[in-house]
Amino acid sequence: MKPTPYVGEFEYAVLLAVMHVETDAYAVPVRAVLEERTGRPVARGALYTALERLEAKGCVRSRMGDPTPERGGKARRYFNVTPLGVKALKAMHASLASLSKGLEAVLEQP
């Protein structure tokens, strides 16, 4: 049994975004979701870095799609979240929830 990996804040956001795109999540739509939902610009390089790290940690799995002409014959790299990734998300969620417990008065103020 693998230990649950620790994911950083940006990696956490990327994991959630990949799940939102559901099928055929590759860098372009993932970045679009991230920017749309967080309202912050996301550097492409940072996204690639995060995806690569997540894959190394076993939180996402990737596969190469088919080359398409509008991409100059280059294939897409699709990602989906692994059970381990879900576990890491849950762990992060739980720790955040436990950390914020008792601070609802401050955190939920408008």
Binding site: Y26, A27, V28, A43, R44, G45, Y48, T49, E52, A56, M64, P67, T68, P69, E70, R71, G72, K74, A75, R76, R77
Partner: protein, 896 residues
């Protein structure tokens, strides 16, 4: 959806280079392309392209920094071995960082070293490039290394390789018999007049065997090459054009095929166009088939064909030489009358078509460049030694802290590498400029005869050579200081600190040796270039036997077709001469078949009346055809007898003038006037009517060849040069001379219209170029020797500041103190000069034999060079000596 637009490809290429993982590479560039296409749709191509550049640069920076996507393989646990490897890696980085800091501690010193190295490397790059382009690989087409040039040697009086020397019958024999060399082809110079157009001109070309292009392994760009049937008389009226000529005269028009050009007065049908950059040999613009009949191919007496061939499979130059030598031996017994003295020379294509002088020139250049690099290395080694002494305490501390001696030596080697890397970069930049300059320096008139000219440029090979030279130099100049550092004694240096007033004697000895070696090498270079410059000067301005000032010359060749009738040639030259003579500033005007210095005169064998012919040593003479005023125009004195006259026409008795040299050689102590000779075995008898002064016909050999001058009226040539002496600037007459020719025949171009001064200058261009390159190098060497001596002397006197202060305090005079330093500079100079004289004497001997006796060792040059070197190095030593003597003893004593 619109068709996909392409992003900036160079940006994409850059990005791809920075990503090592192949899958990621496709994924990332694909994503960018997708977004690029989207952005193009929304905002237009310009915005999208800008965006693409920004994104790809940002990503490149990120990937290249190695922060992302490090390896294809999954990560493993770090083991001990990897930890060690990592520490070694970071150790290297540390070493380099350390070296970098050390260099920055003395920026001035580092700059001097880098500058010195850059200069020497740039000089070597230029020479390497020239050698590669002009000598090693002047021809770069397919399988050129299997091509050979074959020549016949008949006499040994020409010091150079005569490539147009094969007799047609000999050529036929070889083609039939030779097995080691196949696909033989023959060529004959053919510079026809291109006429029947608005601007007639003389074009450069060759008549060749139909198989010529097949042997050269080139395919035509357009059309075809020659068929075997076209190699017959009258059938050979086809022509293949060079790419350059096609572009120049037809603007690259593909419909040129099938057109008829008037070449040499005869119509020729264009059948093909060659690909770009094929202008072999000698900048050929047109090629037409040779068209000898049976009798033409049976000619065995005269050799004038150029012959190329291909080494057969598994044959070498040596085996082919052996076969050809055996063949030549057989021919000489079979045809003793013509072939008895004939030998066969077989050389590689590059060697055969190059100028013979290029080899020795390039060799001397390379020797000079190597000397320069050695001087630079000695200089740098000396500077580093001095710096090493200064850093003794640092090394001592490192040793005391447990650094190994190899580690210290390695450290110095790395510092050397850093210096060399910077030197290589600066040197490459400098070389790019210098190579460009050395290319533009060659006058366009000679470029045609410089095979490989187009390769004079900073190419990959040259850059690699610079790096290699730099690496070699690093090893040389960092070895000495590295050894010194590895011998450093920890305790002594620590105790003594910087107080050690002078370096140990052993090391000083090494330094003086290096400085002395610089002086010696520089002296040799200075002598070599002075000798060459002297030779150039002699060739251009030496005694020629005529007055070369205020002469305008116009060389042309009449086409054989329209001028087949001798009377038409006479009329043409007479008409042109008449017009030129009528020009106001012209004092004399004449026609000569070949100008002196041009090496174009015809050679003939002389058969004397009453003296039996000796086949072993044929009496070879230069044959000139001229008009009477030639001798007054060139101010060649008439020594005896009468001049030629207009009365010596076709119907008059055959007469000639002979040169003094000829008269002395064949009628010693006799009156040559009235003697008779023949120029062919069964030719007409010619009577000598006068003797004229000798003229230098061939500057290269410097020989005054026996010369026969026949009246043009009795033997009108196709090729002729008009010469006119003017009272003013001869160039002002250029247009008038051109008009005179056009008036006589509007279709007739002039090959070369120039003053006699320029004709001579053009002849010495090659050696002049050679001399100038060498002079630049010896100038550089002088500068390096000067700085080397100066830096050594200033360093030494700085090291002895305290000692000098003590001496001054104890009552030594300034002269005595100055003597201390100057004495040493003097000893180094004297040693260097002595060794240099020996080296220079050796070098000038080598040059004398390598350059066909063009230069001769000269005591005056040697003395001058010694004086120059002594003055320069003593001056370099004097300044630091004076500074040492001027110092205040109190200040000096207190310095650390």
């Amino acid at each position: 959806m619109t068709s996909p637009t392409t992003p900036p490809l160079s940006a994409e290429r850059l990005l791809r280079l920075s990503i090592r993982d192949l899958e990621w590479r496709d994924a990332v560039t694909g994503d960018l392309r997708e977004e690029f296409a989207e952005l193009t749709r929304r905002r237009g191509v310009a915005v999208a392209r800008q965006w693409y550049w920004r994104q790809s640069l940002a990503l490149t920076a990120r990937f290249a920094a190695g922060r992302v996507i490090p390896a294809v393989t999954p990560r493993r646990r770090t083991g001990v071995a990897e930890l060690e490897a990592m520490s070694l890696g970071s150790g290297w980085v540390r070493e380099f960082r350390h070296a970098w800091r050390a260099l920055w501690q003395r920026p001035g010193l580092s700059a001097v070293i880098i500058g010195t190295l850059a200069l020497a490397l740039a000089a070597n790059a230029v020479i390497f490039n020239l050698a590669d382009a002009l000598y090693l690989r002047p021809f770069r087409f397919a399988e050129v290394d299997r091509l050979v040039v074959i020549a016949s040697d008949t006499s040994s009086d020409k010091p150079y390789f005569d490539r147009e020397s094969v007799a047609p019958a000999d050529f036929q024999d070889w083609t039939r018999v030779a097995t080691s060399v196949r696909e033989l082809v023959a060529l004959e110079w053919w510079d026809p007049t291109y006429s029947g157009v608005e601007r007639p001109e003389q074009v450069h070309g060759f008549r060749v065997s139909p198989a010529y292009f097949a042997t050269m392994r080139v395919q035509p760009l357009l059309g075809r090459t020659f068929t075997a049937a076209e190699g017959r008389p009258e059938a050979n009226r086809t022509v293949v054009l060079s790419h350059a000529f096609w572009q120049r005269r037809f603007g690259g028009d593909p419909t040129v095929l099938g057109k008829t050009l008037r070449l040499g007065g005869a119509p020729h049908v264009v059948v093909g166009v060659m690909p770009p950059r094929f202008a072999v040999p000698y900048g050929a613009e047109v090629w037409a088939p040779l068209g000898y009949d049976e009798a033409g191919w049976a000619e065995r007496r005269r050799g004038f064909l150029m012959t190329f061939g291909r080494l057969a499979e598994s044959q070498t130059l040596e085996s082919a030489r052996a076969e050809m030598a055996a063949l030549a031996a057989r021919q000489s017994t079979e045809f003793p009358e013509t072939n008895r003295l004939r030998k066969v020379t077989l050389v590689s294509f590059s060697r055969g078509l190059g100028d013979d002088a290029v080899g020795p020139f390039v060799a001397i250049w390379q020797a000079a460049a190597a000397l320069l690099l050695m001087i630079a290395c000695a200089n740098i080694a000396n500077l580093l030694l001095a710096r090493g002494t200064e850093r003794q305490p640092e090394f001592a501390i490192r040793l005391a802290l447990g650094a190994g001696r190899t580690r210290l030596a390695l450290q110095l080697l790395i510092e050397g590498l850093c210096l060399a890397a910077l030197g290589v970069i600066a040197g490459t930049g400098l070389a790019a400029v210098a190579i460009r300059f050395s290319r533009d320096f060659l006058p366009p008139t000679v470029v045609r005869f410089v095979p490989g000219y187009e390769f004079i440029r900073l190419d990959l090979a040259t850059t690699a050579a610079v790096a290699a030279f730099g690496a070699a130099a690093t090893v040389i100049f960092s070895l000495v200081p590295a050894l010194q550092a590895s011998r450093a004694a920890a305790s002594g240096a620590l105790l003594g600190g910087t107080r050690a007033s002078t370096a140990p004697p052993g090391r000083q000895w090494m330094r003086s040796l290096l400085a002395g070696a610089q002086v010696a090498l520089t002296l040799a270079l200075v002598v070599a270039s002075a000798l060459i410059l002297g030779a150039v000067n002699r060739a251009a301005n030496g005694a020629t036997g005529f007055d070369k000032r205020n002469l305008i010359t116009a060389r042309l060749t009449l086409p054989e077709g329209p001028y087949a009738d001798a009377q038409r040639r006479r009329t043409f030259s007479a008409r042109v001469l008449e017009t030129i003579r009528a020009l106001p500033s012209v004092t004399d005007a004449a026609v000569i078949s070949a100008l002196p210095y041009t090496n174009l005169a015809a050679s003939r064998t002389l058969f004397l009346d009453g003296q039996p012919a000796d086949d072993a040593t044929p009496r070879t003479v230069d044959l000139q055809r001229t008009t009477p005023e030639y001798f007054s125009a060139l101010r060649i004195p008439l020594v005896a007898g009468r001049n030629l006259s207009d009365g010596d026409g076709p119907e008059a008795p055959r007469v000639a003038l002979v040169s003094q040299k000829l008269a002395e050689e064949y009628w010693p102590a006799q009156d040559p006037i009235g003697r008779r000779f023949r120029l062919e075995k069964d030719g007409d008898w010619v009577t000598v009517v006068g003797v004229v002064g000798d003229v230098l016909q061939d500057w290269f050999t410097g020989k005054r060849l026996p010369t026969v001058y026949r009246p043009l009226g009795q033997d009108p040539t196709f090729s002729m040069t008009f010469v006119a002496r003017t009272s003013g600037d001869p160039l002002l007459l250029a247009d008038a001379v051109r008009r005179a020719v056009t008036a006589a025949d509007p279709d007739q171009p002039i090959e070369n219209l120039a003053t006699m001064d320029d004709v001579i200058r053009a002849k010495v261009t090659g050696i002049d170029y050679f001399a100038r390159v060498l002079t630049v190098m010896s100038g550089l060497a002088l500068v390096l020797a000067l700085t080397g001596m100066y830096s050594l002397m200033s360093y030494l006197s700085a090291r002895r500041t305290k000692e000098i202060g003590l001496r001054l305090a104890l009552g030594a005079t300034r002269q005595q103190v100055m003597w201390l330093t100057a004495n040493r500079a003097g000893r180094i100079t004297a040693g260097g000069v002595l060794a240099g004289v020996a080296l220079a004497t050796m070098l000038s001997r080598v040059m004398q034999s390598a350059l066909f006796g063009l230069v001769s060792p000269s005591a005056a040059v040697l003395v001058g060079a010694v004086a120059l070197l002594t003055a320069v190095t003593m001056a370099a030593g004097y300044v630091p000596a004076r500074r040492a003597a001027r110092q205040d003893p109190w200040v000096a004593l207190r310095t650390e």
